[in-house]
C-alpha cells in the first residue's frame, strides 16, 4: 500500500519498488531525493518521523553503475510502518542532498558516510570526518582502499629501536578540529 502510494505520487521519480517478506524498498532518482523524503516525512499517510539509519554500499566488484547506493531506513512511530529508500550515486559525482533539515540525526550519519565512503552531502552544515583523523587520506570502506594500507599518526623508527617519530605533533590538529576549517578543502576533492 505504501509502495503504491509513493509510486502514484511520484511516478517519474520512483525508479523501482520491491517487497521482500514485508520489507518495502523503493529506489528513487538522486535529483528528487530531498523532495520525496520531505513528502514521506510530512504527509500524514506516511508520517515517517524517524530516520533510523543512513548508510552507503560500495558495489565495486559487481561493476554496477552507479557504483554506490545510499540507503535510508525510515520508520513511522505513529503508523508503525517502515520503508527503505535507496539512491544510486555515481563514482564521478559522489554527491547527494543532505537530509539534515528534515532529520537532525542525519548530521552525524552523513559525516560518517563521508568519512568512510567519500560521498558528499549538498547542504550539510558541517561536513568533516567524524571517526578518523583529519590527516587520513582516502576513505577506508571503499572497496578500492588497499586492505593493508596503514596511516599511523605515530611511527616507530625500526623494530629494534625504541625511538619514536611522531608523524605529527599532537595538538596541532586540535585547533583545526575546533575550527572545522577542513570543511572547504574537503569539498574540493
Amino acid at each position: 500500500m505504501i509502495l503504491e502510494a509513493v509510486k502514484a505520487k511520484f511516478p517519474d521519480e520512483v525508479l523501482e519498488t520491491s517487497e521482500f517478506r514485508g520489507d518495502l524498498t523503493i529506489v528513487v532518482r538522486k535529483e528528487s531525493l530531498a523532495q520525496i523524503m520531505k513528502h514521506l516525512k510530512e504527509e500524514a499517510a506516511f508520517d515517517f518521523n524517524l530516520l533510523m539509519d543512513l548508510t552507503a554500499v560500495d558495489y565495486l566488484s559487481m561493476e554496477r553503475k552507479p557504483r554506490f547506493d545510499m540507503v535510508y531506513h525510515l520508520y513511522s512511530l505513529r503508523n508503525k510502518h517502515r520503508l527503505r529508500v535507496k539512491v544510486g550515486v555515481h563514482e564521478k559525482e559522489p554527491e547527494v542532498d543532505s537530509l539534515v533539515v528534515l532529520w537532525p540525526i542525519a548530521n552525524w550519519f552523513e559525516r560518517e558516510v563521508w568519512d568512510m565512503f567519500g560521498i558528499r552531502f549538498k547542504g550539510h552544515p558541517h561536513l568533516k570526518r567524524i571517526l578518523l583523523y583529519e590527516e587520513f587520506e582516502g576513505h577506508p570502506l571503499r572497496k578500492d582502499y588497499p586492505v593493508n594500507r596503514r596511516q599511523p599518526l605515530m611511527k616507530q623508527k625500526s623494530d629494534h629501536e625504541l625511538e619514536f617519530i611522531e608523524a605529527r605533533e599532537y595538538g596541532q590538529a586540535v585547533p583545526e578540529l575546533l575550527r572545522g576549517s577542513a570543511n572547504q578543502e574537503e569539498k574540493k576533492i
Binding site: 578518523l132 583523523y133 577506508p140 586492505v147 596511516q151 599511523p152 605515530m154 625504541l162 619514536f164 599532537y170
Partner: protein
Amino acid sequence: MKAQPIDAGFFSTKLNDMVGWARKYSLFQYPFVTACCGMEYMAAACSHYDIDRFGAGLPRFSPRQADLLMVVGTVSQKLAPVLKKVYDQMCDPKWVVAFGVCASTGGFYDNYATLMGIDRIIPVDVYIPGCPPRPENVLDGLLKLQARIQNQKQLL
C-alpha cells in the same frame, strides 16, 4: 686490599632491594581503559579477586600521580598520540602493562584503524594475554611486574 662487598655495609648493598621491595607493593595505577577488557580489569579490582592484596588497589585518575600505566583495551591510530602524551606525563619510576591481546599486539584487529600493539609507541614491561584475560591472569601479570620491579636497578 680490595674491598669486599660485605665491607661496604648493609645499608649501601641492600638499598636497591629495599627500594624495590617498597615500590613493588605500592603501585599506583592509571587505568587507560578503552574497551571491553575494562570489565575484567574491574573484576580484578573488586572484592572477589581484590588486587589490593598486592598493594595495587588504588587507581589514580591522573597520570601525574601514577607510576603504573595499565593500557586496557584496543588503541586506535587516532588515540596513539594521546597514549604517548599520557605516558610522557608520568613521573619516573614508571611501568607499563599491556592488558589483553589488543593492547599487546592488536589482537584480531588488522585494519586501517587499529594500532598493532602499544609497544609501537611506548615501552612495555609486562604483557597480559587473553581476550579478555581472566582476573587470575591479571594477578599473575601483576606478580611478574612485581618481580621485575624488585630485581631491577632502582632509580633513586
